[in-house]
């Protein structure tokens, strides 16, 4: 008969052996080679909503496609880290997120590859919203599929202050916009009714200039021969910069401190009741009338951009890397297959429609925009028909500002466009001098980098 302590020792030994066996088993299971001929792909993205996207990929792709296993790689400082990967270990990523500001440079650097001619490309491309198609094109080739089109400049206003000033509708023209701002100011309702993003960093002054130029006519900044359209007084680009300058210095309806504000700041001011008119992106709409986040909940409405109603839209996309293509046809085709699923019309909602704050207007695909379930969801936060109407006037940023298609877009914007726009606004340069300096910078860089085909 065994003693109590001996039995305890035996039990303990058995339990310990079982724990060790299970641990070793799990370890070996995880290191077991995958099914022969499994293609391993890595998709890199910004780190927004990572957990949800990762779960979706695991449950809806990896579980159903044992031959193509996808690893999701969210990067916190995406645009810096991805360049690091491109230059040191490009073979580690197969599909990457890109946007109109980077696509040309990355394509010329040989980091991303085009997708023309791949099976089903024409079919998928025909389903993309027409205004988004141009953004995928560079030098006659298409470099990805669209994923996120939450950037579209819309106008928000505080109805309460407008009614206090005696107006029962938002402005339809820029003259009316000016009159309403002056009335609000002169009646002592608000010193600076207008708040616009004139900061020199992200979500910034060049977008503000685009918005007013589009309102004044929608003309592209450079024509087909790369001649500027904004240098002459009377042109929409010239007049819009002059308008912004006058709003600050002549009419005093906007604070000069706006050169410190980005779009998040102006929307924040709108929600605090510190301004009446402010531009925004549609993804702000769920928050501006939420009592938990907005002191002016219930008062903030959307209006069509005044005057011509034109606005700009920017779409992020996913591209296949050149390194993936170089691994061989099976990798290239597998990446394309995943890309069509990840970014295609059946799953376009995958990448940005999960959380309330990511709800936006118009997806990249016509069929989704007409989907009644999606429209019903959107209508909780926005006037969907007004968004539809605004979207009809949406012009792709790359179409309106063709400099987006150049390799030198970032140096042009950072060294010439932003500083000179701000100089005009701060009146350290005249509007004329500032615009000429902007184009001179464009010419200097064009000589150094070369210009793409139009």
């Amino acid at each position: 008969m065994l003693s109590k302590s001996a039995v305890t020792k035996i039990h303990a030994t058995i339990i310990a052996v079982m724990i060790i066996a299970v641990t070793v088993g799990i370890y070996y299971y995880k290191t077991l080679p995958t099914t022969p001929n499994t293609i391993e792909l890595t998709v890199a993205n910004i780190s927004y909503q990572s957990n949800w996207i990762q779960q979706k990929i695991e449950s809806e792709w990896n579980a159903k496609h044992p031959d193509i296993h996808v690893t999701y790689l969210p990067l916190a400082d995406y645009y810096t880290e991805i360049v690091n990967i491109f230059t040191s270990t490009p073979e580690k990523v197969d599909i990457v997120r890109t946007n109109p500001g980077y696509m040309a440079a990355w394509a010329d650097a040989g980091w991303i590859t085009n997708i023309d001619g791949l099976e089903g490309f024409n079919d998928t491309f025909s389903k993309v919203e027409p205004s988004r198609r141009f953004e995928l094109l560079y030098n006659g080739k298409h470099y990805g599929l669209p994923t996120y089109t939450g950037y579209m400049a819309i106008l928000l206003y505080n109805e309460k202050y407008l009614q206090q000033a005696g107006f029962d509708h938002p402005p339809g023209t820029l003259d009316e916009f000016l009159q309403q701002c002056l009335a609000i100011k002169n009646q002592g309702i608000m010193e600076y009714p207008m708040a616009w993003h004139l900061k020199g960093s992200e979500r910034r002054i060049d977008w503000a200039w685009y918005e007013f130029t589009l309102m004044k006519g929608g003309e592209t900044l450079y024509d087909d021969n790369w001649n500027p359209t904004y240098l002459n007084p009377g042109s929409p680009g010239y007049e819009s910069l002059q308008f912004i300058v006058d709003c600050i210095h002549k009419y005093k309806i906007m604070d000069q401190a706006a050169v410190e504000w980005d779009t998040f700041k102006v929307v924040d001011m709108l929600m605090k009741g510190d301004c009446v008119f402010a531009p925004a992106d549609p993804f702000h709409l769920p928050n501006v009338n939420d009592p938990e986040t907005s002191a002016e909940a219930g008062n903030i409405k959307m209006a069509l951009m005044p005057q011509s109603h034109y606005t700009w839209v920017k779409t992020d996309q996913f591209s296949i890397t050149k390194a993936c293509r170089d691994k061989g046809a099976e990798y290239y085709e597998a990446a394309w297959k995943f890309l069509r699923w990840f970014c295609g019309p059946d799953n376009n909602s995958l990448t940005y429609m999960y959380a309330k704050e990511a709800l936006t207007m118009h997806t990249c695909y016509t069929s989704l925009n007409n989907d009644p379930t999606l429209r019903a969801t959107w209508s909780q936060f926005m006037n969907v028909s007004l968004i539809d109407e605004q979207a009809e006037f949406a012009q792709s940023l790359q179409d309106f500002s063709p400099a987006h298609k150049t390799k030198f877009y970032l140096p042009w914007v950072n060294d010439y466009l932003i500083p000179n726009l701000q100089a005009a606004i701060l009146q350290t340069k005249t509007v004329d001098d500032a615009l000429h300096a902007i184009h001179q910078g464009f010419e200097t860089l064009a000589m150094e980098y070369g210009l793409p085909e139009r």
Partner: protein, 279 residues
């Protein structure tokens, strides 16, 4: 032989990076425009003919001079105060370390909040006293002042502690002898304190000039080089060239230019200010 490990570390972490940086500065090394190739002094020529370089150089000199002046005068005053046998001076000496304990990027963010035109505490206090608020970060002149002020505040610790160490190394007998000879406080300061402090002053100026010339964190946090190009300094420009435009050739060239500027200023300080002290 015993110095070999130290020399090896110096070689790997100091000499090699300097040489490699110079080597990269002679290349067309733009990640978005391969291939990389030798172009000699092409990057330097490009920089020196670009207006943004001269604007940045001018801003850097203004930023450096202003920061040094404000930091030095404040540090000297504080050091003189802390050198006195006052009650609670030891606690004050401990407090003076606070600015340096805060990372520069955090300093920049904090001061950006303080100087925010709409919601910052600086304008709130001005308004409370019936004064006109300022556009601290959106006026070109005030933006430069704001970054200078933030930087000087951060560096007060170093200047004060160095000068205090210098003050405490001056033999008190000299002051006693001077008092006996009828020298007043100003005379003692000018003829005893300053001359005997000059090596410490030189040290403070060398280090602070070096750090000012390559300032980045505070500019990044407060103004992003703006408004316009009002606070675009060489350190900020180097970051933009290398890490925003991915042009490592030009970034390296600018880094070399910055290094040369730093060496020239250090040599000038040593020649003009540094003296062998004999009591």
């Amino acid at each position: 032989m015993f110095n070999i490990p130290a020399y090896t570390i110096l070689l790997i972490f100091t000499v090699f990076p300097m040489i490699y940086c110079f080597y990269v500065s002679l290349q067309k090394y733009d990640l978005t425009r391969p291939p990389t190739m030798f172009i000699g002094l092409g990057n330097y020529q490009n920089l020196l003919t670009h207006s943004i370089f001269w604007i940045s150089l001018g801003n850097t000199l203004v930023f450096t001079f202003s920061s040094l002046l404000l930091m030095f005068l404040t540090s000297l005053g504080l050091a003189l105060l802390l050198n006195e046998p006052l009650r609670g001076v030891s606690k004050l000496r401990a407090l003076i370390v606070t600015p340096w304990a805060i990372p520069p990027i955090v300093t920049g963010i904090a001061w950006a909040w303080i100087f925010d035109a709409k919601y910052g505490i600086a304008n709130y206090l001005l308004s409370s006293f019936g004064l006109t608020p300022f556009l601290w970060l959106s006026s070109p002149t005030l933006a430069m002042f704001s970054v200078v002020f933030a930087r000087s505040w951060h560096e007060i610790t170093f200047g004060t502690l160095m000068l205090l160490a210098g003050l405490q190394s001056i033999p008190p007998d000299l002051y006693e002898a001077a008092k006996v000879d009828g020298a007043n406080a100003l005379n003692r300061f000018v003829h005893i304190t300053l001359p005997l402090l000059r090596n410490y002053i030189a040290l403070v100026l060398i280090f602070e000039t070096m750090w000012c010339l390559r300032e980045f964190s505070i500019i990044y946090a407060m103004t992003y080089g703006g408004p316009g190009t009002a606070t675009t300094v060489l350190g900020w420009l180097t970051y933009k060239l290398a890490f925003l435009y991915y042009d490592f050739g030009k970034g390296a060239a600018l880094a070399v230019i910055l290094s040369v500027l730093t060496m020239i200023s250090a040599a000038a300080y040593i020649k003009l200010i540094y003296r062998r002290i004999e009591y």
